[in-house]
Protein backbone atom coordinates (compact mmCIF):
# COMPACT_ATOMS: atom_id res chain seq x y z
CA UNK A 1 0.00 0.00 0.00
CA UNK A 2 1.08 3.60 -0.51
CA UNK A 3 3.64 4.93 1.86
CA UNK A 4 5.44 8.23 2.03
CA UNK A 5 8.83 6.73 2.65
CA UNK A 6 11.76 8.48 0.98
CA UNK A 7 11.91 5.72 -1.62
CA UNK A 8 8.45 6.37 -2.97
CA UNK A 9 9.12 10.13 -3.09
CA UNK A 10 12.39 9.53 -4.90
CA UNK A 11 10.45 7.74 -7.63
CA UNK A 12 7.07 9.39 -7.35
CA UNK A 13 5.74 8.29 -10.73
CA UNK A 14 7.34 4.86 -10.78
CA UNK A 15 5.74 1.48 -10.28
CA UNK A 16 7.17 -1.99 -10.68
CA UNK A 17 5.69 -2.15 -14.18
CA UNK A 18 7.13 1.19 -15.24
CA UNK A 19 10.53 0.27 -13.85
CA UNK A 20 10.62 -2.96 -15.86
CA UNK A 21 9.47 -0.99 -18.89
CA UNK A 22 12.18 1.63 -18.30
CA UNK A 23 14.90 -0.97 -18.07
CA UNK A 24 13.60 -2.71 -21.19
CA UNK A 25 13.67 0.65 -23.04
CA UNK A 26 17.27 1.26 -21.99
CA UNK A 27 18.29 -2.21 -23.13
CA UNK A 28 16.48 -1.62 -26.42
CA UNK A 29 18.27 1.69 -26.99
CA UNK A 30 21.62 0.07 -26.16
CA UNK A 31 20.89 -2.65 -28.72
CA UNK A 32 19.89 -0.02 -31.24
CA UNK A 33 23.16 1.87 -30.77
CA UNK A 34 25.22 -1.34 -31.02
CA UNK A 35 23.41 -2.56 -34.14
CA UNK A 36 22.87 0.85 -35.70
CA UNK A 37 26.40 2.18 -35.30
CA UNK A 38 28.53 -0.95 -35.15
CA UNK A 39 27.08 -4.23 -36.35
CA UNK A 40 24.98 -3.22 -39.35
CA UNK A 41 26.69 -2.79 -42.72
CA UNK A 42 27.25 0.41 -44.63
CA UNK A 43 24.91 0.98 -47.54
CA UNK A 44 26.31 0.52 -51.02
CA UNK A 45 25.33 4.05 -52.09
CA UNK A 46 24.79 5.97 -48.87
CA UNK A 47 27.76 4.52 -46.99
CA UNK A 48 27.54 5.35 -43.27
CA UNK A 49 24.65 7.75 -43.91
CA UNK A 50 22.17 4.88 -43.91
CA UNK A 51 22.72 4.49 -40.14
CA UNK A 52 20.57 7.56 -39.55
CA UNK A 53 17.64 5.50 -40.87
CA UNK A 54 17.57 3.40 -37.68
CA UNK A 55 16.68 6.37 -35.47
CA UNK A 56 14.96 8.56 -38.04
CA UNK A 57 12.28 6.07 -39.08
CA UNK A 58 11.36 4.80 -35.57
CA UNK A 59 11.15 8.32 -34.11
CA UNK A 60 8.96 9.41 -37.04
CA UNK A 61 6.62 6.42 -36.73
CA UNK A 62 6.26 6.83 -32.99
CA UNK A 63 5.58 10.55 -33.42
CA UNK A 64 2.67 9.70 -35.73
CA UNK A 65 1.47 7.06 -33.29
CA UNK A 66 1.70 9.60 -30.45
CA UNK A 67 -0.49 12.06 -32.35
CA UNK A 68 -3.01 9.34 -33.12
CA UNK A 69 -3.11 8.40 -29.41
CA UNK A 70 -3.69 12.08 -28.63
CA UNK A 71 -6.60 12.09 -31.08
CA UNK A 72 -8.16 8.90 -29.70
CA UNK A 73 -7.77 10.01 -26.06
CA UNK A 74 -9.30 13.38 -26.93
CA UNK A 75 -12.26 11.66 -28.54
CA UNK A 76 -12.62 9.53 -25.41
CA UNK A 77 -12.71 12.69 -23.30
CA UNK A 78 -15.34 14.32 -25.49
CA UNK A 79 -17.49 11.18 -25.45
CA UNK A 80 -19.73 11.58 -22.40
CA UNK A 81 -19.68 7.98 -21.23
CA UNK A 82 -15.91 7.83 -21.05
CA UNK A 83 -15.28 11.41 -19.99
CA UNK A 84 -12.39 11.58 -17.54
CA UNK A 85 -9.54 14.02 -17.07
CA UNK A 86 -7.22 11.00 -17.25
CA UNK A 87 -7.95 10.83 -20.98
CA UNK A 88 -7.13 14.50 -21.29
CA UNK A 89 -3.82 14.01 -19.52
CA UNK A 90 -2.94 11.01 -21.69
CA UNK A 91 -3.68 13.17 -24.73
CA UNK A 92 -1.45 15.95 -23.44
CA UNK A 93 1.39 13.63 -22.43
CA UNK A 94 1.28 11.81 -25.76
CA UNK A 95 1.33 15.10 -27.68
CA UNK A 96 4.38 16.27 -25.74
CA UNK A 97 6.24 13.05 -26.50
CA UNK A 98 5.05 13.26 -30.11
CA UNK A 99 6.43 16.79 -30.48
CA UNK A 100 9.71 15.64 -28.94
CA UNK A 101 9.96 12.67 -31.34
CA UNK A 102 8.90 14.75 -34.32
CA UNK A 103 11.49 17.39 -33.42
CA UNK A 104 14.35 14.88 -33.34
CA UNK A 105 13.00 13.31 -36.53
CA UNK A 106 13.30 16.66 -38.29
CA UNK A 107 16.87 17.12 -37.01
CA UNK A 108 18.06 13.62 -37.94
CA UNK A 109 16.23 13.91 -41.25
CA UNK A 110 17.91 17.16 -42.21
CA UNK A 111 21.33 15.74 -41.31
CA UNK A 112 20.53 12.73 -43.46
CA UNK A 113 19.34 15.00 -46.25
CA UNK A 114 22.63 16.87 -46.17
CA UNK A 115 24.70 13.74 -46.76
CA UNK A 116 22.27 12.02 -49.10
CA UNK A 117 20.57 14.72 -51.17
CA UNK A 118 23.21 17.38 -50.58
CA UNK A 119 20.85 19.77 -48.79
CA UNK A 120 19.63 20.18 -45.21
CA UNK A 121 16.14 21.20 -46.14
CA UNK A 122 13.85 21.50 -49.13
CA UNK A 123 10.18 22.39 -49.38
CA UNK A 124 9.31 18.91 -50.52
CA UNK A 125 5.78 17.67 -49.81
CA UNK A 126 6.78 15.13 -47.16
CA UNK A 127 9.13 17.53 -45.39
CA UNK A 128 6.72 20.45 -45.47
CA UNK A 129 3.72 18.50 -44.22
CA UNK A 130 5.81 16.94 -41.42
CA UNK A 131 7.09 20.35 -40.29
CA UNK A 132 3.53 21.64 -40.42
CA UNK A 133 2.36 18.76 -38.23
CA UNK A 134 5.16 19.53 -35.75
CA UNK A 135 4.15 23.19 -35.54
CA UNK A 136 0.46 22.25 -35.23
CA UNK A 137 1.11 20.16 -32.12
CA UNK A 138 3.26 22.89 -30.58
CA UNK A 139 0.16 25.01 -31.03
CA UNK A 140 -1.94 22.29 -29.39
CA UNK A 141 0.39 22.29 -26.36
CA UNK A 142 0.16 26.08 -26.19
CA UNK A 143 -3.65 25.83 -26.16
CA UNK A 144 -3.36 23.46 -23.19
CA UNK A 145 -1.47 26.19 -21.35
CA UNK A 146 -4.05 28.92 -21.90
CA UNK A 147 -5.62 28.58 -18.45
CA UNK A 148 -9.13 28.05 -17.14
CA UNK A 149 -10.45 25.06 -15.25
CA UNK A 150 -9.16 21.60 -16.03
CA UNK A 151 -12.42 20.80 -17.74
CA UNK A 152 -12.19 23.89 -19.92
CA UNK A 153 -8.62 22.97 -20.84
CA UNK A 154 -9.59 19.39 -21.63
CA UNK A 155 -12.57 20.32 -23.79
CA UNK A 156 -10.77 23.04 -25.72
CA UNK A 157 -7.65 21.00 -26.40
CA UNK A 158 -9.63 17.86 -27.29
CA UNK A 159 -11.39 19.72 -30.10
CA UNK A 160 -8.08 21.10 -31.38
CA UNK A 161 -6.54 17.60 -31.19
CA UNK A 162 -9.34 16.06 -33.24
CA UNK A 163 -8.86 18.71 -35.93
CA UNK A 164 -5.09 18.20 -35.87
CA UNK A 165 -5.48 14.43 -36.23
CA UNK A 166 -6.89 15.07 -39.70
CA UNK A 167 -3.40 16.21 -40.72
CA UNK A 168 -1.82 12.83 -40.00
CA UNK A 169 -3.25 11.08 -43.10
CA UNK A 170 -2.41 14.22 -45.09
CA UNK A 171 1.26 13.72 -44.23
CA UNK A 172 1.03 10.03 -44.99
CA UNK A 173 -0.50 10.49 -48.41
CA UNK A 174 1.57 13.55 -49.30
CA UNK A 175 4.19 11.26 -50.79
CA UNK A 176 1.63 9.68 -53.04
CA UNK A 177 -0.22 12.82 -54.17
CA UNK A 178 2.82 14.93 -55.03
CA UNK A 179 6.07 13.56 -56.41
CA UNK A 180 8.45 14.22 -53.58
CA UNK A 181 12.17 14.05 -53.13
CA UNK A 182 11.67 12.05 -49.97
CA UNK A 183 11.79 8.32 -50.53
CA UNK A 184 8.77 6.09 -50.10
CA UNK A 185 8.64 3.63 -47.25
CA UNK A 186 11.14 0.82 -47.81
CA UNK A 187 9.99 -1.60 -45.20
CA UNK A 188 6.76 -2.92 -46.63
CA UNK A 189 8.30 -3.54 -49.99
CA UNK A 190 11.19 -5.54 -48.56
CA UNK A 191 13.84 -3.27 -49.98
CA UNK A 192 16.09 -3.45 -46.95
CA UNK A 193 19.02 -5.78 -46.63
CA UNK A 194 18.58 -8.45 -43.90
CA UNK A 195 20.67 -7.01 -41.07
CA UNK A 196 19.51 -3.50 -41.92
CA UNK A 197 15.89 -4.57 -41.60
CA UNK A 198 16.65 -6.25 -38.29
CA UNK A 199 18.37 -3.11 -36.98
CA UNK A 200 15.38 -1.01 -37.96
CA UNK A 201 13.16 -3.53 -36.19
CA UNK A 202 15.28 -3.14 -33.03
CA UNK A 203 14.88 0.62 -33.33
CA UNK A 204 11.12 0.43 -33.61
CA UNK A 205 10.82 -1.86 -30.58
CA UNK A 206 13.13 0.38 -28.53
CA UNK A 207 11.28 3.57 -29.44
CA UNK A 208 7.90 1.96 -28.79
CA UNK A 209 8.93 0.91 -25.27
CA UNK A 210 10.41 4.34 -24.70
CA UNK A 211 7.23 6.02 -25.89
CA UNK A 212 5.04 4.03 -23.50
CA UNK A 213 7.41 4.70 -20.60
CA UNK A 214 7.54 8.43 -21.30
CA UNK A 215 3.77 8.83 -21.67
CA UNK A 216 3.09 6.76 -18.55
CA UNK A 217 5.33 8.94 -16.41
CA UNK A 218 4.41 12.24 -18.02
CA UNK A 219 0.73 11.50 -17.59
CA UNK A 220 1.31 10.86 -13.87
CA UNK A 221 3.27 14.10 -13.51
CA UNK A 222 0.36 15.94 -15.16
CA UNK A 223 -2.03 14.22 -12.73
CA UNK A 224 0.06 15.44 -9.79
CA UNK A 225 0.12 18.95 -11.22
CA UNK A 226 -3.66 18.94 -11.59
CA UNK A 227 -4.01 17.64 -8.04
CA UNK A 228 -1.75 20.45 -6.85
CA UNK A 229 -3.97 22.97 -8.63
CA UNK A 230 -6.94 21.46 -6.84
CA UNK A 231 -5.27 21.76 -3.49
CA UNK A 232 -5.17 25.45 -4.11
CA UNK A 233 -3.12 28.39 -3.24
CA UNK A 234 -1.92 27.14 0.15
CA UNK A 235 0.16 24.49 -1.50
CA UNK A 236 1.44 26.86 -4.14
CA UNK A 237 2.67 29.13 -1.42
CA UNK A 238 4.26 26.25 0.44
CA UNK A 239 5.96 25.14 -2.74
CA UNK A 240 7.31 28.61 -3.30
CA UNK A 241 8.58 28.68 0.26
CA UNK A 242 10.21 25.27 -0.24
CA UNK A 243 11.80 26.55 -3.42
CA UNK A 244 13.14 29.58 -1.60
CA UNK A 245 14.58 27.36 1.11
CA UNK A 246 16.31 25.14 -1.44
CA UNK A 247 18.09 27.97 -3.25
Amino acid sequence: MPDLSPVSIARPTGTRFSRVLGIASLVGIAWLVVFGLFLSPNDATQKAGVRILYIHVPSAWLAYLAFIVTGVSSAAYLFKRTRSLTWDRIAGASAEVGVLFMGVTLVSGSLWGRISWGIFWTWDSRLTTTAFLFVTYIGYLAVRGLGGTHQQRARRSAIIALLATLEVPLVHFSVKWWRPLHQQESVAEGKLDGLMLFTLFVGIIAFTLLYVWLVLHRQRVLAMEDALDDQGLDVALAERRAEGAQV
Binding site: P2, D3, L4, S8, I9, A10, P12, T13, T15, I29, V33, G36, L37, F38, L39, S40, P41, N42, Q46, K47, A48, G49, R51, I52, I55, H56, S59, E96, V97, L100, F101, G103, V104, V107, S108, L111, W112, R114, I115, L210, L214, H217, R218, R220, V221, A223, M224, E225, A227, L228, D230, Q231, V235, A238, E239, A242
Partner: protein, 51 residues
Protein backbone atom coordinates in the same frame (compact mmCIF):
# COMPACT_ATOMS: atom_id res chain seq x y z
CA UNK B 1 37.03 3.16 -34.73
CA UNK B 2 34.85 0.29 -35.84
CA UNK B 3 35.11 -2.59 -38.17
CA UNK B 4 32.08 -2.01 -40.31
CA UNK B 5 31.74 1.72 -39.95
CA UNK B 6 34.76 3.23 -41.57
CA UNK B 7 35.24 6.86 -40.64
CA UNK B 8 34.18 9.06 -43.52
CA UNK B 9 32.94 12.59 -43.99
CA UNK B 10 29.48 11.21 -43.22
CA UNK B 11 30.44 9.93 -39.78
CA UNK B 12 30.03 13.27 -37.95
CA UNK B 13 26.50 13.65 -39.32
CA UNK B 14 25.60 10.14 -38.16
CA UNK B 15 27.06 10.72 -34.69
CA UNK B 16 25.36 14.09 -34.30
CA UNK B 17 21.99 12.63 -35.33
CA UNK B 18 22.26 9.88 -32.69
CA UNK B 19 23.43 12.32 -30.01
CA UNK B 20 20.63 14.81 -30.74
CA UNK B 21 17.95 12.12 -30.87
CA UNK B 22 18.92 10.10 -27.82
CA UNK B 23 20.20 13.16 -25.94
CA UNK B 24 17.00 15.09 -26.61
CA UNK B 25 14.88 12.25 -25.28
CA UNK B 26 17.15 11.86 -22.24
CA UNK B 27 16.89 15.56 -21.38
CA UNK B 28 13.08 15.39 -21.66
CA UNK B 29 12.95 12.30 -19.43
CA UNK B 30 15.32 13.76 -16.85
CA UNK B 31 13.39 17.03 -16.60
CA UNK B 32 10.12 15.11 -16.31
CA UNK B 33 11.41 12.96 -13.43
CA UNK B 34 12.95 16.01 -11.72
CA UNK B 35 9.59 17.80 -11.89
CA UNK B 36 7.86 14.72 -10.46
CA UNK B 37 10.30 14.56 -7.57
CA UNK B 38 9.87 18.24 -6.84
CA UNK B 39 6.09 18.31 -6.62
CA UNK B 40 5.47 14.83 -5.22
CA UNK B 41 5.90 15.79 -1.51
CA UNK B 42 3.04 18.28 -1.82
CA UNK B 43 0.62 15.92 -3.48
CA UNK B 44 -1.73 13.96 -1.22
CA UNK B 45 -1.36 10.22 -1.32
CA UNK B 46 -4.88 9.66 -2.63
CA UNK B 47 -3.98 11.79 -5.63
CA UNK B 48 -1.28 9.33 -6.55
CA UNK B 49 -3.40 6.22 -7.05
CA UNK B 50 -0.63 4.34 -8.86
CA UNK B 51 1.64 4.17 -5.81
Amino acid sequence: MLASMSVSEQTPYVIVSYVVTLGGIAVFAWRMLARARKIAPQVREEDRPWT
